[in-house]
C-alpha cells in the first residue's frame, strides 16, 4: 500500500510539471504501467512462440528456440482428429448465439427504457437479481434434462438455446445503459412525425446505439466462443464438441498432441476474438464510455 500511495503522489505531480523534461515520477508511472502490460502480454507471446518452435526445442527447457518450425499450423489442421469439426461447431454456435442474444437484448432494453411497459420495475429487478445468483450452476441439471428429453444432446441447437440465456440479463442491462443515454425528446419528435415504435427503433435508435452494439456483440462473442461448462455437459461426442472443450480436454504431451501443435490450435482459437477486438476497439471503448458499464 505504501508503494501505491507513493506512486499516486508522484503521478499527480507529474501532471503538473514545473519544468520541461521528464520528471522521475512520470517515468515511475509509465514503468509501473509497462510492467502490468508486460505481465498481460508475455504469456500470450509465449504461446505464439511455442506454436512455431521445433519439437526438440519445445521440450528443451529454453525459452527462445534454436530452430523455428512453422509447420505445426498445417499439421494441426490436417492431422488432428475433429479439429475442423470443432472449429465449425464453435463458429455456428457462436454466430447464432450472438445474433439471437443481441436481438433479444436490444428489443427488450428498448421497451424497458423508451416504451411504456407495465411491470418494468419488476422486470429490471429480476434481471439484476439473476446477476447475483449462480443461475448457470443451479440450472445445469435441469437444462440437461430438458435437452435430453427434447433429444438435443450432442446437437448444435442443444447448445445454442441455453447459450442465449447465459448473457441475456447482462446484455439487456448493458443495452439499457446505452438506451438511457438517448434523450426521450428524440423519440417524442419521431412520434409526432407519425413513426411507430417499431420504425423508431430501426430508423432512429439503431444508428444511435451503434457503439453500444459493438460492446454487446463483443461481450456475447467472448462468452459464447469460450463457453465450457454447458458444452462439456451437453456434448460427449468429440465430433460435436466446440473448440474450447476439445482444447481443454486434450492433454498436451507427446504424439499428435505435441505441445507446439496444441499451441498452434490455441493461437487459432484465440485469434478471432483478439482480431475482432482490434478492429472494433475504437467503437468498443466509446461504447464503454457511453454507459455500457453503468448498470
Amino acid at each position: 500500500m505504501a508503494v501505491s500511495a507513493k506512486s499516486i503522489d508522484s503521478a499527480r505531480i507529474a501532471t503538473h510539471p514545473s519544468k520541461k523534461g521528464l520528471h522521475w515520477s512520470t517515468i515511475l508511472l509509465h514503468a509501473t504501467l509497462i510492467f502490468f502490460c508486460a505481465v498481460i502480454v508475455l504469456p500470450l507471446f509465449w504461446v505464439v512462440l511455442m506454436s512455431v518452435k521445433s519439437i526438440p526445442d519445445a521440450y528443451s527447457g529454453s525459452l527462445w528456440p534454436k530452430q523455428f518450425d512453422f509447420t505445426h499450423y498445417g499439421y494441426a489442421l490436417q492431422k488432428l482428429p475433429y479439429i475442423w469439426r470443432n472449429f465449425g461447431n464453435s463458429i455456428v454456435v457462436t454466430f447464432s448465439t450472438v445474433l439471437i442474444t443481441s436481438a433479444c437484448a436490444v428489443l427488450a432494453a428498448y421497451a424497458i427504457v423508451h416504451l411504456r411497459l407495465p411491470g418494468k420495475l419488476l422486470l429490471v429487478s429480476l434481471l439484476v437479481g439473476t446477476l447475483y445468483f449462480p443461475t448457470r450452476l443451479v440450472s445445469i441439471i435441469g437444462i440437461f434434462r430438458i435437452q435430453a428429453s427434447l433429444g438435443l444432446i450432442n446437437t448444435m441447437p442443444g447448445l445454442i438455446l441455453p447459450y442465449v440465456t447465459l448473457n441475456l440479463a447482462l446484455s439487456i442491462l448493458v443495452m439499457k445503459g446505452i438506451f438511457e443515454q438517448i434523450s426521450p425528446e428524440i423519440l417524442d419528435a419521431a412520434r409526432i412525425d407519425g413513426a411507430s415504435s417499431w420504425r423508431i427503433l430501426w430508423m432512429v435508435m439503431l444508428p444511435l446505439i451503434a457503439n453500444g452494439l459493438v460492446v454487446l456483440l463483443i461481450i456475447n462473442f467472448v462468452t459464447a466462443w469460450g463457453e465450457f461448462l454447458l458444452a462439456y455437459t451437453l456434448t460427449n461426442d468429440q465430433a460435436m464438441r466446440t473448440l474450447p472443450v476439445a482444447l481443454a480436454t486434450a492433454m498436451g504431451g507427446f504424439g499428435e498432441w505435441a505441445w507446439p501443435a496444441l499451441a498452434a490450435v490455441y493461437v487459432m482459437a484465440i485469434t478471432p476474438g483478439i482480431t475482432a477486438f482490434a478492429i472494433a476497439q475504437r467503437w468498443y471503448m466509446k461504447g464503454l464510455q457511453e454507459g455500457a458499464l453503468k448498470f
Binding site: S7, I8, D9, R12, T15, L29, T32, L33, F36, C37, I40, V41, V47, G61, S62, L63, C104, A111, L115, R116, L117, P118, Y132, F133, P134, T135, V138, S139, I140, I141, G142, F144, R145, I146, V164, L168, R191, I192, G194, A195, S197, V222, W225, G226, E227, F228, L229, Y232, T233, P244, L247, A248, W259, Y266, I270, G273, F277, Q281, Q289, K294
Partner: protein, 313 residues
C-alpha cells in the same frame, strides 16, 4: 399506440398509470422472456423439484419423493463441508486482488496525460478480456506446467533458484494451487475491472479536486476523501458480483484440477457436477440439493455484503 402518443407525448410519459394498450409493448420483451422461462426459470424450478427426490438419471427405477433426505444428507456430507470451505478460501484470496489491483491500475492510467499512450495501455490491458475463460485456463495450465511451463523454466534454467527436483508445483495437490488459480483470475480480470474504475474516475467532477487543493489537502487525503467515496457504488457492485462468481467457480477447477477428491480444487461446485453427470447412476437428486445448499449459502453472504455496504447517509 402512435396516435395516443401524438396527442400529448410528454404528459403521457409522466403519468404513472398504464393503459391496456401499453401491454402490447411486452411483445418487445417476449423473445427474451421465452429464453428466460425455458432455459433459466424452468430448469431452476425443476432442480428444486428433483432435489426432493432420489432421482438418478441412469437408473430405470421411477423417482421417489424423499422429502428433505437429500438436504439432511448433504448437510452432513464431509465433502460438502470441505467443498464450501475450499470455495471460500479461493474467494478470500481472489477478491482483494481482483478489486484493488485494477483500482490501482485505473488510478495510474487516469493520470497518463498523453491520449495515445493512455488508450494504448487500455487496449493492452483489455486483451485478456476478449479471450474466453477456458482458453485462459488452458493457457495457464501450460504456464504452470511442472516441466515445460515457462514459469518453472525461468526459475530453474534462467534464475537457477530451483532444480527440477525441488521446483514449485503450482497445480495439483499443492498448497500453491488455489493462489495460483486466483492469480490467473486477477490476470484475466485486470483490464475489464480497470475499465469499471476508469469509468468511475471519469465521472468525478474535477472541481472537487480543485476545491480540495484550495483547502490544502495533500494527494493521499484527496484520494481518501474525494476519489474513494465517489468510487464506492462501483466498488460495492464489484465486490458483491465477484464474490458470487468466485464462490460458484467451476470451469477453472475442472480444467486445471479435474475430478480428484483430494485436490484443493474439488469444491462444492465440482462435487455437484461430478455427482450429477459422472458418479454411479448420476445422482441428480442429491446433486440438486447440494447445488441449492451452495447457492443458498452464497445468497446469505450476498445479502450480508449488501447490508454491510448499505448507504448510511
Amino acid at each position: 399506440m402512435a396516435s395516443t402518443a401524438i396527442s400529448k407525448p410528454i404528459a403521457h410519459r409522466r403519468s404513472r398509470l398504464y393503459g391496456l394498450r401499453d401491454g402490447v409493448n411486452w411483445l418487445y420483451v417476449l423473445p427474451a422472456l421465452f429464453f428466460f422461462c425455458m432455459y433459466m426459470l424452468y430448469p431452476i424450478i425443476e432442480v428444486i423439484v428433483i432435489s426432493f427426490t432420489d432421482y438418478k438419471f441412469l437408473s430405470s427405477e421411477p423417482m421417489r419423493f424423499t422429502g428433505l433426505t437429500n438436504f439432511i444428507n448433504a448437510l452432513q456430507d464431509p465433502l460438502v463441508h470441505k467443498g464450501l470451505l475450499r470455495a471460500l478460501y479461493f474467494t478470500s484470496i481472489f477478491l482483494p486482488g481482483v478489486i484493488f489491483i485494477p483500482l490501482f491500475v485505473a488510478i495510474l492510467v487516469d493520470r497518463v496525460t498523453n491520449p495515445a499512450l493512455a488508450s494504448l495501455y487500455r487496449v493492452i490491458l483489455l486483451i485478456p478480456a476478449v479471450i474466453p475463460g477456458p482458453m485462459i485456463f488452458v493457457l495457464w495450465r501450460w504456464m504452470y506446467d511442472f516441466e515445460v511451463g515457462p514459469i518453472n523454466t525461468i526459475l530453474v534454467n534462467y534464475l537457477n533458484l530451483f532444480t527440477y527436483r525441488n521446483a514449485p508445483q503450482w497445480l495439483g495437490n499443492s498448497p500453491l494451487t488455489i493462489p495460483a488459480i486466483a492469480f490467473v483470475e486477477w490476470w484475466w480480470g485486470l483490464g475489464y475491472h480497470t475499465m469499471f474504475f476508469l469509468a468511475g474516475l471519469a465521472a468525478i467532477p474535477k472541481e472537487l479536486f480543485e476545491a480540495a487543493k484550495v483547502d490544502g489537502a495533500n494527494e493521499w487525503q484527496m484520494f481518501w476523501n474525494v476519489t474513494l467515496p465517489r468510487l464506492r457504488p462501483i466498488f460495492v457492485v464489484l465486490v458483491v458480483l465477484r464474490f458470487g462468481t468466485a464462490m460458484a467457480v467451476i470451469d477453472e477447477y475442472i480444467i486445471m484440477g479435474g475430478f480428484n477428491r483430494a485436490l484443493p480444487t474439488y469444491t462444492w461446485t465440482v462435487y455437484m457436477w461430478h455427482l450429477a453427470f459422472n458418479i454411479g447412476n448420476w445422482f441428480q437428486g442429491y446433486a440438486a440439493a447440494i447445488g441449492w445448499i451452495g447457492a443458498a449459502a452464497m445468497l446469505v453472504v450476498v445479502g450480508l455484503l449488501f447490508y454491510v455496504f448499505r448507504d448510511r447517509d
